[in-house]
Amino acid sequence: MSDDVRIRYRKLPGHRRGFIRGASVWLGPDHLLSVKSMRFREEYRRFYFRDVQAIAIAKAPRFHISTRVVPVVLMVPVLFGSLVAIRNVFPLFWPVFWIVAALLLAAWVMVSSLFSCRCRIYTAVSGEELPSVYRTWTARRFLAKVEPLIRQAQGAVEGNWAEAVEDRGMGPVQTVDSSAPPEAPAAQEGARGSVAAMCFALALLGSSAFDFATLQSHAPWPTVLPLYFAVVKMAAATAVFVQYARGQATLAVRRLAIAELIALGILVYANQFRASIAAANPKNRTVTISTVVLGGSPVLRGIEGGVDLVLGMAAAVLTMAASKEA
């Protein structure tokens, strides 16, 4: 809409910053603008003040990790590297570190479970969740800003509104046209038997079997072959993305592919980090930083094998279930 070019929106309390998805709500002259972003794309929903029927806030656990913590997480290796060197100067570093980490984790769990909520906004034709309003204190500030504007546009409800709407279906009207033919399933839901998904599952299970079979092996090849498995897994995940875009793979398998790529990346950096720490230890002069990006540590390979096993089995089960449905 051309008018949107000229509208200057003001940000309302609450901003959900995810790694891929984000959300926020903005205030226009006569409406709220809900913005849901997916990395390179934004979706907009407008809720005009005159149309808003109700705003409902229900307490609910929301275990969301904001991207704001990413810089903190990135600082941890730097902190580790710096403080390992002065460990003798500050011998209580590790106990204090773990206590602080545990307290922060406990605080996050408590806030996520006890002080979180879901906020929905209802009009006659829609009932939308506002993902950016997910903490109770944010919801209070959001209501404090928005409620007066809606009341200004509509006035206030007199009496007991719950009784007044008792016998009426409110919110979006759900109409069912019996004469209409049954809706064809969406492409992404309908196309199930994905070859790429099965290849992805097999790649993960194969890699997992290899990891577990050679966990205690001291031969050089178990440190090299994981690299080839990593390439195969990345290729299979890419194929899943392509098939999903073509409507031939399910959303669940695509999520598994994303999870596998994230796990792979974390393990690569964890392995390098482990090697760096080991090399920095003055007592251990035999350790050198390996150029092998995967498979350096039995512990990490065990973790990788476990992750691959779980994700691979999940992918296999989903693919087979989807094939049966099809």
Partner: protein, 183 residues
């Protein structure tokens, strides 16, 4: 999703009768109005009827195409009434009534491309120039509805240029080293 049935538990709190959860609910007068979809508007003999719903009485004519529209079909915007067909097609002035629902964020693409290439840094030799070209090509594309600055374009293109220059420098350096070693 329709509104659940609630019982007022006092003040701002409403109890969901389905799950028993306690919700904070702010209700507004629009909740008491009947929606246009529920309103019966049967056309009587002699009445003008809706183009898409012949059984319903027309309440206005589309400003673009002149078709009669009923209460359900009428799209009101800027004091004018339009039919859904003209709005969907963006025909003539009806496109003013069509709200933009999505936008592609080219500035974010330009910013993230060089950063993403750091995962496999040799790729910068390709993604660096690609970032600059993409930034120049998409410079005039509309930004996010709620974002007003093009700093992402600028930073992304500068990073792309720096990455490309770094790769070129490294290639020249390696070639020079190779010649020196050969001698």
């Amino acid at each position: 999703m329709p509104l659940p049935k609630w019982e007022l538990a006092g003040g701002d709190t409403a109890m969901c009768t389905s799950c028993g959860s306690s919700n904070t609910v702010r209700a507004f007068p629009a909740i008491l109005k009947q929606s246009a979809a529920e309103r019966p508007e049967a056309a009587l003999p002699g009445d003008a009827c809706c183009y898409d719903h012949p059984a319903k009485r027309a309440v206005a004519a589309c400003r673009q195409c002149g078709r009669f529209v009923c209460q359900l079909c009428a799209v009101e915007f800027g004091g004018e009434t339009w039919c859904p067909g003209c709005v969907a097609a963006g025909a003539g002035q009806a496109k003013e009534a069509r709200s933009e629902t999505t936008r592609t964020l080219y500035d974010s693409m330009v910013l993230l491309l060089p950063f993403g290439s750091l995962v496999f840094w040799p790729a910068l030799i390709l993604t660096g120039p690609a970032t600059v070209i993409l930034g120049v090509m998409k410079w005039k594309q509309p930004l996010s509805l709620v974002r007003r600055s093009r700093w992402r374009f600028v930073v992304g293109m500068l990073l792309g240029l720096a990455g490309s220059a770094g790769c070129v420098w490294m290639i020249i350096y390696l070639m020079t080293m190779g010649r020196t070693l050969a001698r």
